[in-house]
């Protein structure tokens, strides 16, 4: 069974229909890329998966989404958000609290640790997994706002990893990073996918081609084509898909 099953998902913002009847299966321990031109609904779908869409009261959602067979809309939302973490396009640590505190906040809020030593161990391990530990270990108490853009994004990854999540949602995570940091983050994802499920939104087809195992192409709120990345890129069955992956559609 797929990790996440999306059935007939429709989302509208007021009069604007953003997605119309999306069906998708996200397999476990792999990277699934959602790609498509701006406005095709990719970020919206992502925000349904951890019910962050509920922050937008104008959004109306219908359809079903299952995580390991459970309907996420019936689940305890706090638990859902512990199991399904998200990384955003613009790095968004809380700048006036410390690097350590940024990673620890989620753990403390959700009462996931029972001692200060356990807290420290988990924060350290998350920062190590995010390949940031060596760069910050001597200044854990410094404000997070002082880090560079690439470091801040890896801090956000660490913050997500601290939860030991089952699914990691990434909304164009390297769009604001330079090529060097982009490469670091991509390598990180390739390493981490062995332990968790990734859903990666990207507006840059070569990125999908580089690191994803499965790719879904969205156009104007609908899934046009979806399958193993190699197939989607080399033998697309739809004309639109072919145009998009060869860079003629944006």
């Amino acid at each position: 069974m797929a990790k996440i099953e999306i059935k007939d998902l429709r989302v509208s913002f007021g009069a604007l229909q953003v997605t119309t009847g999306v069906n998708l299966s996200i397999p476990d321990r792999s990277i699934t890329a959602l790609m498509g031109p701006s406005g095709s609904g990719k970020s919206t779908i992502l925000r349904v998966l951890n019910r962050l869409i509920e922050l937008y009261p104008e959004a109306k959602v219908s359809g079903e989404v299952y995580l390991d067979g459970e309907n996420i809309f019936d689940m305890n939302v706090l638990e859902l958000r512990r199991r399904v973490q998200m990384i955003f396009q613009i790095p968004n640590p809380i700048p006036n609290i410390s690097i350590f505190e940024n990673v620890a906040l989620g753990l403390k809020l959700n009462h996931l640790v029972r001692s200060r030593r356990e807290l420290f161990e988990r924060v350290k391990s998350a920062l190590e997994k995010a390949q940031l530990w060596d760069e910050v270990k001597d200044r854990l108490r410094a404000p997070a706002g002082k880090l560079s853009g690439g470091q801040q994004q890896r801090l956000c990854v660490a913050r997500a990893l601290a939860f030991e999540p089952e699914v990691l949602l990434a909304d164009e995570p390297t769009a604001n990073l330079d090529p060097e940091n982009t490469a670091k983050v991509e390598a990180l994802f390739l390493e981490l996918k062995k332990e968790m499920t990734f859903v990666l939104v990207t507006h840059y087809p070569p990125q999908a081609a580089r690191i994803s195992d499965y790719a879904a192409f969205l156009y104007k709120g609908q899934i046009v084509e979806w399958g193993p990345t190699r197939d989607v890129f080399t033998k697309p069955s739809h004309e639109l898909t072919e145009k998009y992956v060869t860079g003629r559609l944006y």
């Binding site: 305890n76 706090l78 638990e79 959700n110 009462h111 996931l112």
Partner: protein, 315 residues
């Protein structure tokens, strides 16, 4: 995760939800508590005030007659209303005239060190104890009065008095307490207020618009005051209206500048104001005067509310 830790986390979640409800409830309670007194105050003032106006002779009498002595049965706030209107108008005009350019200065020229000094100065003055401002104007007034009258106002008023009988009411040698000192005190209170709002109105002009304004306008003067006028005028107008409402209600700065007057009198001498009458009459032991204080408060409140509502609708 084991079943046991799973259950522990579930229990914690339930606890967090309870805290969520209690916490938000507390915030809501505190927020409402901040606003509830307003209703009590407005209710109290209007209930007793309208009653007062009726018992003292009705609205027209109240707005034009002289205030009641302790033994009268009717009276009004005529002289005070005139004083308030005159001083507030002067204070507001001058306050905007100086406050607006000042606001442009500290809002637009932020890179200059002096502008930041001026901004700090404005921040200090904006909620300065208004009685201190009144005291300052009083001090300057007492120092300047004699020479001012001898060298400037005396000759001036003799020169223009042939123009009409109304002249001595406005221009002439000044007493220690007069309407113009009051107006100056009000101006000093209004200036920082207008300046700060103007500054933030200019500061919130987005970069692309500002660049376009400078590019198309030629001279900087045109860019700031002509092209960007539309973008900031709403905020500045609101500031002007709210500032006027604020100074119309001020009492302390007038205590030693205008001082107050029970009679219609020239603006060159002690002048009454509605808030001054409320202050004075509320603290007397005479019922009729206490009642008239409520009437005056109702009139004052109506003026303020009107300006406030206009500002909210236009803004």
């Amino acid at each position: 995760m084991t079943a046991k830790s799973h259950n522990r986390v579930r229990a914690v979640d339930a606890e967090r939800r309870v805290i969520n409800w209690l916490g938000l409830g507390l915030f809501a309670f505190l927020g409402v508590a901040a606003v509830v007194p307003l209703f009590f105050i407005i209710g109290d003032v209007y209930i007793k005030g309208i009653d007062a106006i009726n018992s003292l002779g009705g609205l027209w009498v109240f707005l034009t007659e002289l205030p009641p002595t302790p033994f009268d049965e009717s009276g009004g706030i005529g002289p005070m209303l005139v004083g308030t209107l005159y001083m507030t108008a002067l204070g507001a005009l001058l306050g905007i005239a100086v406050g607006f350019p000042l606001g442009v200065y500290i809002g637009e020229m932020r890179r200059e060190k002096f502008a930041n000094v001026a901004r700090a100065g404005v921040n200090v003055l904006v909620e300065f104890p208004t009685i201190v401002i009144g005291l300052f104007v009083y001090a300057v007034m007492s120092l300047a009065k004699e020479d001012l009258n001898r060298y400037l106002l005396g000759p001036l008023s003799s020169a223009i008095s042939p123009l009409g009988e109304w002249v001595p009411w406005f221009i002439g040698p000044l007493d220690g307490f007069n309407a113009y000192a009051g107006a100056v005190a009000l101006t000093l209170i209004m200036i920082p207020y207008v300046a700060l709002i103007t500054a933030s109105a200019y500061a919130s002009v987005e970069q692309p618009l500002r660049e376009a304004a400078y590019a198309t306008a030629g001279r900087e003067f045109n860019a700031l005051f002509v092209v960007l006028r539309k973008a900031v005028s709403r905020a500045v107008l609101t500031a002007a209206l709210l500032g006027t409402a604020k100074i119309a209600g001020e009492t302390a700065p007038l205590l030693f500048t205008a001082f107050g007057n029970f009679y219609y009198a020239p603006f060159t001498g002690p002048t009454g104001a509605v808030p001054l009458w409320v202050w004075y009459a509320a603290q007397t032991p005479y019922d009729v005067q206490i009642v008239s204080a409520y009437g005056a408060a109702a009139v004052l409140l109506t003026i303020i509310l009107t300006i406030f509502i206009i500002a909210r609708i236009r803004g």
